[in-house]
């Protein structure tokens, strides 16, 4: 309970007849990075909007630093990068940064912001003249400039090149090491695997799985077996505990919950089998599996 920076308690949000959030329970501790994953329309963006006070809950409670998200005093502890910011195109990056920094009592130095967000050479450019990736970097700088204790990042790395993404990841890790809590929504599962302390999977407005990356991944026992084999995939697919079997050239790929048993049988039935590899499911597979189970 100590040091909870953001808390959703049985939160309901309706849009017309349907519930965008249907009893959402979620807690974010200080200094942890929580990745919020879920298919489109699952309620991720709605949850963030409630946490920021942009929307009001129809039921349940949302607390930001123990206060209403509408409280300006509570929002002074946050930074935010939404999917779009619509910043004024005629203002220069330097001006936008000065404006955002002025909203906080102890912001990072301008030079630190430039370094952390990779804004070198952009400061005197007009926002409207920047590329999409450069604009995202500016939005990231505005989100972190106030030394936030809770940072909301909604799909932050969409449209970034690899170098810019690396800079952003490095800064995110440094902020978390400094005690900043981060709520990250992303479609890139490798991003969640690379950054998150904890993952929460949201589907149909509820948390359907939560835990460390390893715990969520372990929810899915699936393994993927690849090998060069002459066996008929139609026959293999009919074996018990095999979910699917497909041929790709001389290789076959078998997805199963019981890798050891299936490997034994494959080896027994095809003496010429070679190049065997077994892969554990990634977060991507776990995620597809968990959300399919709910639907």
């Amino acid at each position: 309970m100590q040091n909870v920076v953001l808390q959703f308690a049985d939160v309901i949000k309706r849009y017309g007849a349907s519930n965008a959030l249907d009893g959402l329970d979620l807690r974010v501790q200080g200094g942890e990075l929580l990745a919020l994953l879920g298919p489109n329309g699952a309620g991720k963006t709605t949850a963030i909007a409630l946490g920021l006070g942009l929307l009001d809950a129809d039921g349940g409670e949302v607390h930001l630093f123990g206060q209403s998200p509408h409280a300006l005093a509570a929002r002074r502890g946050i930074g935010v990068m939404l999917q779009s910011a619509g910043l004024p195109e005629t203002l220069k990056v330097r001006e936008l940064l000065a404006q955002a920094r002025a909203a906080y009592a102890q912001p990072y130095d301008t030079g630190d912001c430039v370094r952390m967000a990779g804004l070198d050479g952009l400061m005197d450019r007009r926002y409207g003249k920047l590329s999409g990736g450069q604009q995202r970097r500016v939005q990231f700088a505005l989100a972190i400039c106030g030394r936030p204790r809770l940072l909301f990042l909604d799909e932050p790395t969409v449209g970034l090149d690899i170098e810019a993404r690396e800079t952003m990841w490095r800064t995110i890790r440094a902020l978390v090491a400094d005690g900043c809590a981060i709520v990250l929504t992303t479609h890139y599962l490798e991003e969640a695997e690379a950054l998150a302390d904890r993952v929460a999977v949201i589907a149909q407005g509820r948390i359907v799985a939560a835990g460390s990356v390893a715990q969520v991944r372990a929810r899915v026992a699936q393994k993927r077996i690849r090998c060069v084999s002459a066996l008929d995939t139609g026959v293999v697919a009919a074996w018990p505990q095999v979910r699917s079997a497909n041929r790709n050239g001389e290789r076959i790929e078998v997805v199963t919950d019981a890798a050891e048993a299936i490997v034994r049988r494959l080896l027994a039935e095809d003496a010429s089998l070679g190049e065997l590899e077994i892969q554990r499911a990634g977060l991507a597979e776990a995620f597809v599996e968990i959300t399919r189970a709910v639907a």
Partner: protein, 261 residues
């Protein structure tokens, strides 16, 4: 909850005055870097005044009525309506459309700074419109006014932007950024004509004269005519009351709508 608030103390407040100052400076820079807004706002009233008040004015001064002075007040009011209507209507609609207002509500920015900055810029533009027309009036149109009349006209025009800011804000809170310029023009131009800012109401059909008190620009026009000693109708108090009513009636629903996003 008490353990939570103990563990996480409230962040301290920034210097609000600095927030407001930066906001006002940025609003000024945005306008300066948007010539499509600045130039028409400053040029049209001056152009109309030169055309009708100076070039086509063949001077039939009868009694206190002096066309050059009368039109100075009329085109002055026409000129100060624009920064209010366009400065709020179009730019608020665009900022809202693009998601900037939503971003601002999520950030810990002081909520009043945005409107305060726009208001300051509208009043600044009104003052510049006043200065341009006054310069033309004195140098070319041969207008002579006592300093107290100039001061009264200045106050009427600079504070006269307020009801038009409120109307603009109402439109900006309701329509898309694409539709806003057309809708604002549909309000601005007929309103100016029907309020007697282009042609004196006395030469307009009786019906239009009778409904003129419905228009806020009519009331501001009468205050401006009275300020420069030209024939006007109604009492100062009734005009101020009507303009205040318009301001409040448009401001309240607009603020409610903007707070909801």
């Amino acid at each position: 909850m008490s353990s939570m608030s103990a563990a996480v103390s409230a962040p301290s407040a920034p210097n609000l005055l600095r927030c407001y100052a930066i906001e006002a400076k940025h609003e000024f820079l945005r306008l300066l870097r948007t010539p499509m807004f600045c130039i028409p706002t400053l040029v049209f009233p001056a152009m109309f005044y030169l055309l009708f008040g100076v070039l086509m004015n063949h001077g039939h001064n009868t009694g206190p009525f002096d066309p050059a002075t009368y039109m100075l007040a009329g085109y002055g009011v026409f000129g100060v309506m624009a920064p209010g209507l366009f400065g709020f209507g179009v730019s608020v609609a665009i900022d809202r459309d693009r998601g900037w207002l939503q971003w601002r509500r999520a950030m810990p920015l002081p909520p009043g700074a945005y409107l305060a900055a726009k208001l300051a810029m509208a009043m600044l533009f009104a003052a510049v419109v006043f200065a341009i027309l006054a310069t033309i009036a004195v140098t070319i149109a041969g207008v002579h006014l006592a300093p107290s009349s100039w001061a009264r006209l200045f106050v009427v025009e600079v504070f006269g932007v307020l009801p038009f800011c409120a109307i603009g804000l109402f439109v900006g809170s309701a329509v898309s950024g694409q539709a806003a310029p057309a809708i604002i023009n549909l309000i601005y131009l007929p309103l100016s004509f029907l309020s007697g800012l282009w042609l004196p109401l006395s030469v307009m059909p009786a019906f239009l004269r009778e409904i003129a008190p419905l228009w806020p620009a009519y009331h501001l026009g009468q205050l401006a005519y009275a300020a420069v000693g030209q024939p006007s109708m109604g009492s100062t108090l009734s005009h101020v009351a009507a303009l205040t009513l318009v301001t409040v009636a448009f401001l309240l629903p607009a603020r409610r709508r903007l707070a909801r996003g």
